[in-house]
Amino acid sequence: MKGNLEAERTPGAATAVAAVELDAVAVRFRAKKKEVTALRDVSLSVAPGEFVSIVGPSGCGKSTLLKLVSGLLRPSAGSVRLFGEAVGGTRHDIGYVFQRAALLEWRSARRNILLQAEMRGMPAAEAGRRADELIEMTGLTGFEDALPHELSGGMQQRVALCRALLHRPPVLLMDEPFGALDALTREQMNVELHRIWRETGTTVLLVTHSIAESVYLANRVLVMTARPGTVAEIIDVDLPGSRDYAETMSQPSFAEATGRIRDLLGAATATD
């Protein structure tokens, strides 16, 4: 399994098969006799190494979409594929970051990151080296032994990010990872995530409520309509691969993309 993941991450194979492929996917929930359609006819194809942001009104099925990709949830209709392979059960070749850091409060930052390795039975030495690498990359150095409640919200989210990256997943799923952070910390985390994405070449699906964040980070932004969630539009972000935060904000193409998303979301909520 591992060897074949490495193969799929090589650039040569990049264009051949989509990292994530959703085809006419629908999700219906049964809740107290009432049937709720969370997603309807959603199709999306994400190339390996691509960064796609997902925005949409609350309750439109963004989290549901990530759960589909991870295999935590099965679609009611349509198909979900990861690297050409139909998603049957929960996938292990992904990294997941939730809105709340979801850290084990009795474990230090480093040991929270290493949970990933322990659960997978990765060799301890290799995992330790990788953890130290990520700790340095995310600026957590000096806080390895701190317990979660001794860390700030931003640091907790960094730990969750390190944990999600430990096993070098070809796909990273992030569900409003920075929603609980203050504006400044959030900007810092955006810059960091952008750098990490550039360095690792991971395919990323990021759910966010921040339009600026969605555009700054992504190659494309998937805008969804209110419930039942459908694809309103997929917007191509016309920005360079490597982005400076302040510079990006002042780009005309940035303003254009954010404006377009704002219009679409306005229309989506107006029909709600």
């Binding site: 759960k67 991870s70 935590l72 929960t90 996938r91 292990h92 992904i94 990294g95 997941y96 939730f98 709340r100 979801a102 084990l104 409060e105 009795w106 949970l115 990933q116 322990e118 659960m119 997978r120 317990l147 409640h149």
Partner: protein, 271 residues
Amino acid sequence: MSMNPGGSEGRLLAVLERSWRPVALLVACFAVWWAITSTQLVPPYLVPSPGTTLGVMTEKSSYLWQHTWVTTYETVLGFVIAVVIGVLAAVVMVYSTTVEKTLYPVLLFAQVIPKIAIAPLFVVWLGFGLTPKVVVAVLIAFFPVVISMVTGLKSVDPEMLQLAATMGASPLKTFAKIRFPASLPHLFSGLKVAVTLAVTGAVVGEFVGANEGLGFVILQANGNLDTPMLFAGLLVMSLIGVVLFVLVEIAEQLMLPWHASRRGEAATTTL
């Protein structure tokens, strides 16, 4: 001690800070007790003075010690068995809804039966020895253990479990590394209730048929209208409960430093 004055003194101060209020209350209770008896509001054959009671306790200390050990042994044994069975039952119930549906009504039934009412039955079945006392202690201490452990195991963050699933974690690993440790704070609050109840259970077991233990001491004293001894027995019995409770709390702080420390932090900010 003097090697690390800051640490040990700080800890001592923290203990004093936490314990002076209950100690003050206890002293106040003794003062009221003393006042009532010394003003002869109540005749001494109904309520002996603290002095008389403490006098009996020192005078008959070896007699009291002997029976205290018996009751303590029954209590601890009952408590430990209740914890083992309770935790196991909770784990099985959380992992199997069928078992939960079957076992829950049975447990509830076992809980609502007044233990004093069935204790004589155990004497008939199991004799006058150690077993019936332990059985009553187990029965009475078992329920809070199961309930708190079930609550603890169920209160695990569902996202944490989903995360474990994406890590390809086996159910055993998920249990050992996430579910079980996460349930410990709940379990410990149940254990604190259970340990004090276990004392009651052991004494109830002694009441219905025993020739040793504090329950026996109290019954004997009652029969002889020896109120000072009766009060002494009651006092020692309460002390067993308090000491065991404190031991469980210490175990909690040793095992869950992450949790206890947070509670400490919350306490100082609200004060």
